[in-house]
Assembly symmetry: D2
Homo-oligomer: 243 residues x 4
């Protein structure tokens, strides 16, 4: 029901400047590949990174953002309080938020979940299969029964998150673990999607089905055009109400 | 993400032929008013009623229906087994289903819920206020904090349904009752929305906000264009899997 | 909050009479092993099987049952309508129901879920790991991070069930599949737990953690002593209510 | 499954020292009345208040607390950071938390919910009816269809909380509002119950059904005796796993 959706892809953008193995897959940064995958007929995309002033997330930028994507890993603690609160306020108002991979430990995700968001992990030779468990959900439109990634970092349960409002994907890993890898939440008036894959040393964000899921998620998370007002505070009774 | 949505409005269409008070509000039937409210730029609407052959719900009609709306009251038991199963099969495949008011006791709704779907009720002088409790949900796009209906039949808790996947509205009634009056479910690949108001002796379906909710619900419940396949039965292991 | 819990273990009891491989693990039947595991200080257990009159589930037996366990596979269609409805009515009233393994296709489970309950399967050399994803839940009291079964039949997603009210276990299988293998539901006033493992050719019900989960589940599913009344039908307004 | 449950009732304890209308109902403080209602055969109770050192919630006290109740209103901001974090850490480990009435705006509740927890309110002449919508839940054991309170402060939707894992009560108010007034959550390994009524100028905590709900909630929220371990961090693959 939206006309054009305004997306901001936020990336920590540190690994790409240091690690040749990451540069190989993401020479312009992870954000550039994701932005390229999202831009389209009905989606306008900009990017923002940690080392820009205000991390690129000024009040003006966030005020013009319908859906924010978040990739972070090494430097969660460098994200400043006021930016975390600014993003948080926008989610309460209805901005969509898509949290990627190691963003499970970002300050904004922990703030919104209210739990530690801790998990198991292993860098190794795992294959990952993301099985669709909610096959009618718009986020899996056009996706098959599962998405298979030949090499990915393993994340395993227990994943310390609230039970998702809707669980969309469950991952299988070669080494014996499972993970709730696609999880939808509604918080305030905002929609949140956590999507597990995307380790920086693998070409995951080039995978067509991963890109498709992100595009679908952007459409799902975009706020409704005329959102329901929410009035808090003191209230008058209904006229004519008994007592 | 759909192009045009094909809607079928099903109505029992008995009250309207017998009760002058109902005819006053719905001279062509409840289905005619709802169909008129739904038809639009991206929605094609047809109607079907109980006394047509196969209740108007042939395999061909259902095969061309993306979202089915259901209003029934007096004659739930006259709906034939094979039509109930046909609708059920289509919901499992992905057809959306919007169940209205007294349709809580329809055979198809009870079949899908797995509970008695029983409730309290009173015809009287109740006012109803439907409060939005999920303000970011697409079904309440453009709706205010609540919808107020000056005269409606009361339905009260306990409403014997499964806990909704998403609860969208809670109703308040003058006489002291509450009711979960907007409830979303996913069953199979289909989306189901139960929407409480719509007693036949009140002009409820002429109310602009009620019509807006129905239009929103049609868009929400429409199946995705390229749905995720579901394969059941015997399966081969992943190549190279250990043991 | 219950004093003694009255449990009935129902078993189809056909495999055990025909298949030596099954007899080896369950010479007296699967029900006998489960009953032995459940009987204890605060639990009284009886058993019932398909070929008894009324399948052993007379109105009297069910009226004295707080929690019913259900194992069936070959002969789901032989379970008579009136027994299915009798069990169903008791669940609506508050009797707990624990559905085991191939019971996913039993008539009573499909009746309560409202979906096809279909899934993938493979008899082979899979190992299964049931990961706990709800570590504070009473059903996993005393269980470690996961339960590992060296040989089990594989069940894989998509499992066509409603999203569980609480998801307790997710299974990993060697061959590349995952499965929601411990799922809690509330239907009517009854609590339902589906627990995946338990193929007849494996000694699964002898495993101490499987037995522990079943004991925990019996305590979880037992009805409260003084259940909340549910009044349906016509209702009077609150005295003094306005209009 | 617990032997004795160790409960701590925390109260801000300011209104009672200033307002004669509050003193009339709670001469020893709200905490004293609640503690008296909870103490029993299998429950040990202590109390703690804001103006004690460390607000009475030392590491030792919390380490010996299975379930914490929280009533606060005027002085949420005076609760110190380290105490909020200490309570939070204990909930993650499995301590139950019951948040009462105006505690919806406490720092610990907002921390755990991840939302603003804002709402509508009115002090006036409202009657409140708390309708049971989850009649098989242990928290409503022994409670009728609803609890009626002749005078209470009104809290109305939209209540800005995550969708509850289980919704137990919905309140009706004379003046036209509804409210999700009994809400269960699982966060980390801890269980949380928010229970709406309890304005300081009304004798709500003397009401037998309110006391019954609190007693039930204490039993529901108590941690399991042998909780499931949760291992986070680096993990080894399953032996023999393929790649």
């Amino acid at each position: 029901m939206n006309s054009r959706i305004r997306v901001t892809v936020w990336n920590e953008f540190r690994h790409e400047q240091r690690n040749p193995k990451v540069q190989e897959h993401y020479p312009q940064g992870i954000h550039a590949v994701i932005a390229g995958a999202l831009a389209g007929e009905d989606v306008d995309v900009r990017t923002a990174t940690l080392d820009e002033p205000e991390h690129g997330l000024t009040a003006e930028v966030l005020g013009q953002t319908d859906v924010l994507l978040w990739w972070g890993h090494l430097a969660h603690d460098e994200v400043r309080d006021e930016v975390v609160e600014r993003v948080y306020d926008r989610v309460m108002e209805g901005m969509g938020l898509i949290v990627l991979h190691s963003g499970h430990f970002s300050r904004i995700f922990k703030r919104l979940m209210g739990t530690t968001c801790d998990l198991k992990w292993r860098e190794g030779n795992d294959r990952e299969r993301l099985w669709v468990v909610s096959p009618g959900h718009p986020i899996v439109e056009g996706v098959g029964e599962y998405i298979q990634l030949e090499h990915e970092e393993m994340y395993g349960e227990h994943f310390d998150i609230p039970a998702p409002d809707t669980l969309v994907f469950i991952s299988w890993f070669t080494g014996g673990e499972v993970f709730r890898s696609g999880a939808c939440y509604e918080r305030g008036r905002g929609k949140i999607f956590y999507f597990r894959p995307g380790h920086e040393t693998h070409p995951t964000y080039h995978h067509p089905d991963v890109q498709r899921v992100l595009r679908n998620a952007v459409h799902w998370a975009a706020p409704t055009v005329r959102s329901t007002p929410r009035a808090f505070g003191h209230a008058q009774p209904l006229e004519g109400a008994g007592s």
